[in-house]
């Protein structure tokens, strides 16, 4: 759920909610009786002292093959450590994580979204990896700061980055042309976008329901799209020191007023979309714009959409965009030998060679930005990893134990309430702000 929880990202990350739920229910039913796979996986030390590490991840999309290519190369590169990848939908992974990572048969390395990490770290599920960063044998200085700090909770670093992704604006050039707009001039500010909404949202004669929308903005179970709007008026959900709720600040309310009006009254986007719904809408040419990560390019290309990717339109007071980081964490039960073996894999994964393979195959920006120029087979890593894009990117609620709860159980439900007209923006978010503050105070 889980989601729950930014239910993972991307196709496969953001697997259709339904399929995820189905596997979720199956997993719930099965997890009582079976562990993951053959349950012999706890860093088997085979003959000759070879350690096999079980690596849980959610790369079920087109990024899976790219990851497996790197893992295969790692396994061939040396004889002491082998990594066995276990890929499952994110929903399933989070459902199994708690029991899995605490038990012997569970994973030795877990990839997870940075927003989920503090919750588990605060419960003692993972071990701090500060020694990895301190030891100069591991080349961590040139990794992007946003990626390495995403896994910091309570002063300790619990993860090594698996990937970093920025979210950009996808726009459908065909729909722009049909609306009489220049397909090479996507909106660069909120006001420009607002002016385009009447042209891009189309309602058939005699109906009150549009059959095409200017943008697909998801308000539940999604890669976060709305939160960056809050940043760009100078507001936000939580202050940068993680201490104060900003949901009732005048800046935040200004952003929310603007977007609730645009979506609710001007039908810029349908209400009640999940991330998967939003993808579907853009994928079927029924939405002109979507904000999404690099994982979406393959699917949209396959669907035959003529799209461009550019920076999302800037707000009146900023042009921050959302980045998300997946991090690799080690369960607290891992012993020292397992940990050292995992460090070998971390070294390899973050190396230039591996990152080149990964970026080329997945479309994600590489963790070594000096690699950007070397990627020739795929245009997207350079776009999503461009210096100005990465520099302006921000993480949502890093290092807050209840960070995911705040977003999914307070922010989105409140937003849905406002979009459905169940109270004024100010009323709803003043109340929501109190809930967020209570959650933050509880974490202290």
């Amino acid at each position: 759920m889980t989601s729950q929880h930014s239910t993972g990202r991307g196709p496969g990350r953001r697997i259709p909610l339904l399929a995820a739920a189905a596997t979720g229910i199956l997993a719930l039913a099965l997890s009582g009786c079976t562990g993951q796979g053959t349950s012999t996986s706890n860093s088997d030390t085979g003959s000759g002292g070879k350690i096999t590490l079980t690596f849980w991840n959610g790369q079920t999309g087109p990024d899976g093959p790219a990851m497996n290519k790197v893992i295969d190369a790692f396994n061939k590169s040396q004889s002491k450590v082998a990594v066995k990848s276990v890929t499952m939908p994110w929903d399933t992974l989070y459902q199994k994580l708690l029991t899995g990572a605490a038990s012997k048969g569970g994973p030795d390395i877990v990839a997870l979204d940075f927003t989920q990490l503090p919750k588990y770290a605060s419960q003692g599920l993972f071990q701090p990896l500060d020694d990895y960063y301190k030891d100069s044998a591991h080349d961590t200085d040139t990794l992007p700061k946003a990626a390495t700090t995403a896994s910091v909770y309570d002063g300790k670093n619990y993860g090594v980055p698996f990937d970093i992704a920025t979210t950009m604006m996808y726009y459908n050039k065909t729909l722009f042309k049909q609306a009489g707009l220049d397909p090479d001039k996507p909106p660069t500010t909120w006001d420009e976008f607002a002016a385009m909404v009447p042209k891009l949202t189309k309602t058939p004669a005699g109906s009150s329901k549009p059959d095409q929308y200017a943008i697909a903005l998801a308000d539940n179970n999604t890669v976060d799209m709305y939160p960056q709007f809050l940043w760009n008026t100078g507001g936000g959900i939580v202050s940068e020191d993680n201490k104060k709720s900003l949901l009732d600040s005048p800046e935040t309310l200004k952003a929310l007023d603007f977007w609730v009006d645009l979506v609710k009254n001007k039908q810029a986007s349908p209400i009640g979309l999940s991330g998967a719904d939003a993808d579907k809408l853009f994928n079927s040419g029924k939405a002109a714009i979507e904000i999404n990560g690099p994982w979406a390019t393959t699917g949209y290309k396959d669907a035959g959409i003529d799209f461009g990717v550019t920076r999302p339109f800037a707000g009146p007071d900023g042009n921050a965009l959302l980045a998300s980081v997946e991090t690799m964490a080690l369960p607290a039960k891992d012993d020292d030998a397992t940990k050292q073996a995992a460090y070998k894999f971390f070294d390899y994964w973050t190396s230039n060679d591996a990152q080149l393979t990964w970026a080329e195959g997945s479309g994600f920006p590489p963790l070594r930005s000096d690699d950007n120029a070397k990627i020739t087979g795929n245009p997207y890593p350079a776009i999503f990893g461009a210096k100005d894009v990465v520099d302006d990117s921000r993480l949502l609620n890093p290092g807050i134990a209840s960070g995911a709860t705040i977003v999914n159980d307070v922010f989105y439900p409140s937003l849905q309430k406002a979009l459905n007209g169940d109270g004024s923006v100010e009323e709803i978010f003043t109340a929501a702000s109190k809930e967020v503050q209570a959650d933050l105070d509880k974490d202290k």
């Binding site: 889980t2 339904l18 419960q123 329901k209």
Partner: protein
């Protein structure tokens, strides 16, 4: 004699104790602690219960659960009875219709709910399309419409279970001796009078069983809600079991989730006792 009886009972007793009684008691203990599955449970007394009764999320889920149960239970029971009476007659294709109505019960509710989500999808859904044809347009689809989401999942709940209760009623109907109906007919009773004074009283056993089971099932509504709405939009479809899941598996508060489970358990227990008491007094034997 008693030893033999115990021996026969042992297999089911073992299963019952291991999978029902023990977890129940364990949950009762956990509800008095703070527990996250990893660290040892910390005793907190009744703090979870105090927190619970002051928690608006709990009362919201409680309200949704009651609405769900009050809506779904009578509709399911009455519909099951009507279908049973209808399908107790002879007509061509009876077997097919019976099977068609029973079928949803056999298929996993999770899978069925996925199918319904597609049918109700605002853009590609067949049912949404039909509703649109007759002028019932929901801009955002029933499942994300705060007024329609709960009725939609309630409908799926009824549709899923009605076939099973219908079969129970069918069995009951077939056990009513034909001579009773015949005697009533000879005495000049019309169809309604026969139904009212012969059929219905003789089905009171089935009605009791079906009502109790249907009520318990609806108080435990979870699967289709989890799949179709995830409790949304803004918790409008979050039932108590959904809340238990959210607090336990998503927020890692297993102690608190256990406390909600126990409140639900007691609530179900009390309602079941009331139902048994009510039907016991009305039971008819000829």
């Amino acid at each position: 004699m008693t030893r033999t009886a115990w021996l026969f009972l042992t297999p089911s007793l073992v299963v019952l104790i291991a999978f029902t009684v023990y977890p129940m008691i364990q949950a009762g203990y956990l509800s008095l602690t703070n527990y996250n599955l990893i660290r040892a449970a910390q005793w907190v007394g009744f703090a979870n219960y105090r927190q619970l009764f002051a928690d608006p999320a709990f009362w919201n889920a409680f309200e949704n659960t009651v609405i769900y149960a009050v809506g779904v239970t009578p509709v399911t029971v009455v519909l099951a009875l009507l279908l049973a009476i209808f399908l107790n007659r002879q007509f061509v294709g009876r077997g097919f219709v019976r099977t068609a109505i029973f079928l949803p019960f056999i298929v996993s509710l999770g899978i069925i709910a996925i199918a319904w989500s597609f049918l109700l999808d605002p853009n590609i859904g067949l049912v949404s399309y039909w509703l649109g044809k007759v002028g019932l347009v929901s801009k955002q689809g029933l499942l994300s419409d705060p007024h329609w989401a709960l009725p939609a999942v309630m409908f799926v709940g009824v549709w899923k279970n009605v076939g099973f209760y219908m079969v129970m009623y069918l069995a009951g109907l077939q056990s009513i001796p034909g001579d009773l109906q015949e005697a009533a007919r000879l005495d000049g009773a019309n169809a309604w009078q026969r139904f009212r004074s012969v059929t219905l009283p003789l089905l009171s056993n089935q009605t009791m069983l079906v009502s109790v089971m249907a009520l318990i099932a609806s108080l435990q509504a979870f699967d289709q809600i989890y799949v179709m709405t995830h409790g949304g939009p803004f918790f409008r479809t979050e039932t108590l079991v959904m809340l238990i899941y959210r607090e336990g598996f998503q927020n890692l508060q297993f102690g608190y989730a256990s406390a909600i489970s126990w409140v639900l358990l007691i609530f179900v227990f009390l309602l079941s006792i009331l139902q048994f008491g009510y039907f016991q007094r009305r039971q008819v034997r000829y």
